[in-house]
């Protein structure tokens, strides 16, 4: 009965963690470029293949493409395909994101809402307007004509699901994710940049709600298992009285 009690309790604990992850996804369903996570589980096995319940291994980020939506922002960009924008924050740290909400700052760099700048692009102060082509080339219109002033490159990782989420839609490279590799957008099978668009979070609310229902029911079923094990212990104790 101890085994049943423990297995059922481990199931409750795992579903609790599952629910935490789903709630986190749901809370960020409206965050541009956000990537939802999923909890992974493994069976606890004692020597001799006897199961002892389950354990939650932790959440891993799911990098599925989010929907692209038109956006009125001055310098909104979306990545259609794999890859990340490379940002540099105020400490010189490299951060990676798929959130392309940028705005031109006083020094001509493109910065996100947290003041991290997009690497490699500086728009001259006399520029009238700028646009980004699918291959990342930044076309700037001046009073005397249009010129390409640079190209936005994307970063790709050997194991993107091992990146560490630092804040919302920002990620940091880790030893497990590998070193970033620069890719030029716009090739036939590669990623393309979409100017005037943003990538929505890849969390769908309906799916998350269904996951909540499933997690809640699984929690409930495991709670019943705890109750049953407890009840059986009580019955066993009654043997003594005869």
């Amino acid at each position: 009965m101890d085994r049943a009690l423990f297995a059922a309790a481990s199931g409750m604990a795992a579903q609790q963690q599952n629910l935490d992850t789903i709630a986190d996804n749901l809370a960020n369903a409206g965050v541009v470029g956000y990537k939802g996570s999923a909890q992974r589980f493994a069976e606890l096995v004692a020597p001799g293949e006897r199961g002892l319940g389950t354990v939650a291994l932790g959440a891993h980020v799911l990098f599925a493409q989010g929907k692209l939506a038109r956006s009125p922002g001055p310098f909104d960009l979306a990545i259609d395909g794999p890859g990340f924008f490379t940002l540099v924050d105020e400490h010189g740290r490299h951060l990676y994101t798929r959130d392309g909400q940028f705005a031109r700052s006083a020094d001509g760099t493109l910065r996100n809402a947290r003041d991290a700048r997009l690497e490699g692009i500086r728009i001259p102060s006399d520029a009238l307007s700028a646009t980004v082509m699918p291959d990342g080339k930044v076309r700037v219109t001046f009073a005397n004509g249009t010129r390409t002033i640079g190209q936005i490159r994307l970063a790709e990782f050997p194991a993107p699901d091992r990146l560490r989420a630092v804040d919302g839609a920002l990620f940091e490279a880790t030893r497990e994710s590998g070193k970033p590799r620069e890719i030029v957008p716009g090739s036939d099978n590669g990623p393309k940049l979409r100017f005037g668009m943003l990538e929505e979070s890849n969390v769908t609310i309906i799916e998350a709600m269904m996951q909540i229902l499933a997690a809640q029911r699984a929690y409930e079923a495991n709670a019943k298992g705890v109750q049953a094990a407890d009840e059986m212990l009580r019955i066993a104790n009654n043997l003594q009285r005869g």
Binding site: R40, F41, E49, T54, A228, M232, L239, G242
Partner: protein, 111 residues
Amino acid sequence: MDGIAWAGSAMVAARTRLEVATENLANVSTEGFRRVVARGFLTPLGVSIVEQRMARQGGAVHSGTLATNGVNAIAEMIDVLAAERSFESAQKVVSTIDKSREKAAQAAHVA
């Protein structure tokens, strides 16, 4: 034939059945989990129960979806309830046999 030992073996079997059902329920979300089944056998000494692992669920692999592991939560819940009740009835049998023996012992004393 010892009735108490028989009923006792039924209690052990019911306990194993509960353990197996809770194990399956705990792993209802575990990818690649192989369901456990408890199989009972009648032996001259009562009921004997063995745990068996089901084969991994086969089939095509689709990206972006997780394979279900074959655990049916409703069936497992019913097993939990059934195990609890059969444990209870086996315990009643043990107690009844015990009581009747107690009576017999008292009768022998009186006589």
